[in-house]
Symmetry: C2
Subunit: 370 residues, 2 copies
C-alpha cells in the first residue's frame, strides 16, 4: 500500500476513529486503526466490537492495500508531523514507513485481514436530524445515565420515535431526564436503547453544525449514525426500557419560577461545604416571593435567599445538590419553572412545551437538625 | 474582627498566599490563611515554615482583629462568591461569617495567636530586578534542578551576584543551566542557594511586568522578595554550591548553527517512540551542512535531517532527548549555536554573549546497533 494525504486530513480522520479504540483489551488487533485503501477511497476504521467508527479521508492512492497500525502510536506520530503531505507506505512484511518532509518513521503494522470490519447494515429506513440537535439532546440527558453496570438498561438512553416526535430518555433510579424534539417529517415508530458510551463518543465527533444532517439507521441489534464522511455503528442494549409515563404527572401543589443562573450559583456555592461521599442534602424552603437555601456540614453552614415567583403552597424539601446542579447546567433558559407536590415526591423542572423534563427525587432530612 | 473588601481583591490576595500553604502537614494551623486586620491594614499570610508569603489587600476595617481560616475552604468559598463586596466577621468563639449579597457562610476559624508569622528580617541591603527578568530567569533554569532530595544542594538554584552581574545556576548531575543578567547598578557580592520550590511558587505570583520591580533582601538564613503588595520570605539552603567554572570550557571541535524550532520539533517527534523509563538515546550525526537525527526503540525507528551551518569536525554523539528538549524549550532565539568537543564530553548550547549556557552530558550508545 502507498497513499499520500495531508497531515490535517489524516489527523482529522484519526481523531474521529480513535473514539472507538478500546482503552483496555486483550485483543491487540482492536487497539489498531485500519487503513483501507483497497478500493478507490481511503477509509480509516476502528472497532471495539460494541462501537465501530469508519471515516473516509481525501488522498492519493499510489498503490492499493490495507494495513492495521497501533492506534496510539499512529495517532501520536501523525499529531507531531509537520503540517505537510504525509506518505504512508507498507511492504510485504508489514513494515510501515510514514514520511513527511525530512522526517521518516518506521513501525511494524498488523495484517488488515485480522481486523474486525464494521457489520454490514441494510440501510432502507432512516431518520434525519441536524448535528446540532443530536449533540444538544445528548448533552442535555447523558448525565443521568447510571455510572455502573448493575442495571444494564440504565447505562443507555432510550431513543423513542413516534411520528414526528423524537424523544430521548435517561434515568438512574434517582432522576429522569427527557428531551422531546419535533422532527421535520414523520417516521415509523421506533424504540431503541443506545449505550451511553456510544452517545458520549458520538457527541465528541459531531461538529454541532445546524445545517448538517445526521442519518440514523436501525436494525434489531444496531444503530448506525451517518454524517459528513463518517459512519458510526453501535450495538443496541437489548431489553424493555422502563415505563416512565407512570412516573410523570402534571399535578402540583407548588410552582416556582426562578432565575436559573442564580439558583445554580447558589447550589454550586453550597456544595463547597460537602466533601466527596458526604451525603448532605441542600434544604430548600419555599415561601412567598423567596426561596431559602441552606446546607449544614461538618465544615460549616451556608444559607442564601433567592427571589422567586410562587404559586401554591409553601414547601420545605431536601435534595442531593449534585442532581439539581446536573440538570440546571444543561438548561439554556434564563428562567425556569419547578413543580413540587410534597416533600416525599419528585420535583419536576420543565418548560411549558415540555421540550425538556427533569424529574428529581428528594431526600429525607431531619428538619430539626437543620 | 469585621472587614469588608471586594471579592476580586480578596481572591487575588488569597491566590497569592495560597502558594505557601503546604499540601501535607501535621500542623493544622499551617493549612490556614491568617487574616490580620489588627492594625490599619488587612494582611493575608500563609507560611509552611520554609516559605512564607504575606500580601496586603485593600478593604475597610470595621473592627480590628485577626483570624486563621482553613486555606482550602476559604479559597473555595471566596472563588465562588458573587462578584461584589464581601464581609468577613468573627465572634469571640472564632465563628466566622462570610457574607456576600444574599449568600452567607459560617465556618469555624482558628486563633490567629497560634499562627507562625513570617520571621522578622532586617532590610538594609537590597538589589532590584524587574518582575519580568526574575520570572524569565527562573523559567529558563528551574527545569534542571534535581527532582529528588539525594543531594539537597541540587534541589535549589544558586543566585550569584558580583557587581552588576546577576547569575542563576541549576544543575542535576547530568546538565547545568546558567543565566547571566546585567543589573542596572552594582551591588556587593552575594551568593545564596534558594530552594527550587520557592522559585517555582514565586514565578507563579510574579506578573512578569517589565516596569515593575522586585526587591531582593538577604540574611544569612533567608531571602526576601518584595513586589507589589507582597512579601515572600524563604529559607536558604545551607552549604557550598558546586564549583561550576571548572566544568565550563570555550574550546570546541565542532560548532553547529541550527534553527531551534526545527531541532525541537524533530526531537519531540522522535520521543514518541520512547516509552517512559526506556532510556533510548537520540543519535545525532553532524556532517557538512546537515544534522541527521535517529532513534531506535522497540516500537519503531525514526530518522530525520535538518539543514545546519557547521564549523569543524564531523561528530556522532548521543543524548537523552529529554535533556535537549528541556533546554530548547526555554531558549527564545530563532537560531542557536551548539558546541561539541567529542562524543564523551558535554555539549554546550549558548549564545555569543553567554546570557545563557546549557551544558548537557552525552550518553553512550552502541553505534553498530544504531
Amino acid at each position: 500500500m502507498k497513499i499520500i494525504c495531508t497531515k490535517s486530513d489524516l489527523l482529522h480522520g484519526v481523531n474521529i476513529v480513535s473514539k472507538a479504540v478500546p482503552s483496555k483489551t486483550t485483543m491487540a488487533i482492536l487497539e489498531c486503526i485500519l487503513i483501507d485503501a483497497s478500493t478507490n477511497e481511503i477509509k480509516l476504521t476502528a472497532n471495539d466490537m460494541e462501537l465501530g467508527i469508519e471515516t473516509r479521508i481525501i488522498g492519493d492512492i499510489k498503490e492499493k492495500g490495507i494495513i492495521a497500525l497501533d492506534a496510539k502510536i499512529f495517532t501520536d506520530i501523525v499529531r507531531k508531523l509537520p503540517d505537510n503531505d504525509v506518505t504512508i507506505e507498507t511492504d510485504a512484511n508489514l513494515k510501515t514507513t510514514i514520511t513527511c518532509e525530512k522526517a521518516k518513521f518506521n513501525i511494524i503494522g498488523k495484517s488488515g485481514e485480522d481486523f474486525s470490519y464494521l457489520p454490514y447494515i441494510e440501510k432502507n429506513y432512516y431518520i434525519s436530524i441536524s448535528q446540532f440537535t443530536l449533540k444538544e439532546v445528548i448533552r442535555q440527558t447523558i448525565f443521568s445515565i447510571a455510572d455502573n453496570d448493575n442495571n444494564k438498561l440504565m447505562t443507555g438512553e432510550l431513543i423513542d420515535i413516534k411520528g414526528d416526535e423524537f424523544k430521548v430518555v435517561s434515568l438512574d433510579g434517582h432522576r429522569i431526564s427527557i428531551r422531546n424534539i419535533k422532527l421535520k417529517e414523520s417516521y415509523d415508530d421506533k424504540k431503541v436503547i443506545v449505550p451511553g458510551k456510544t452517545l458520549i463518543e458520538i457527541s465528541k465527533i459531531l461538529t454541532g453544525d445546524l445545517s448538517s444532517e445526521v442519518k440514523l439507521f436501525f436494525t434489531d441489534k444496531h444503530i448506525v449514525f451517518e454524517f459528513d464522511n463518517t459512519t458510526v455503528v453501535s450495538r443496541l442494549i437489548e431489553g424493555e426500557y422502563f415505563k416512565i409515563e407512570q412516573m410523570l404527572t402534571n399535578d402540583y401543589e407548588t410552582k416556582v419560577k426562578i432565575n436559573k443562573k442564580e439558583l445554580l450559583s447558589s447550589i454550586d456555592r453550597a456544595t463547597l461545604l460537602v466533601k466527596e461521599g458526604d451525603k448532605k442534602p441542600i434544604i430548600i424552603n419555599i415561601l412567598d416571593g423567596k426561596m431559602e437555601l441552606k446546607i449544614n456540614s461538618f465544615i460549616g453552614s451556608m444559607n442564601e435567599e433567592i427571589d422567586i415567583t410562587k404559586e401554591g403552597k409553601d414547601i420545605l424539601i431536601g435534595f442531593n445538590p449534585k442532581f439539581l446542579i446536573d440538570a440546571l447546567r444543561v438548561i439554556d433558559d434564563e428562567d425556569i419553572d419547578i413543580y413540587f407536590v410534597n416533600p416525599k415526591a419528585p420535583c419536576f423542572i420543565k418548560d411549558a412545551e415540555e421540550k425538556y423534563t427533569y424529574l428529581i427525587l428528594p431526600v429525607n432530612f431531619n428538619s430539626v437538625a437543620n
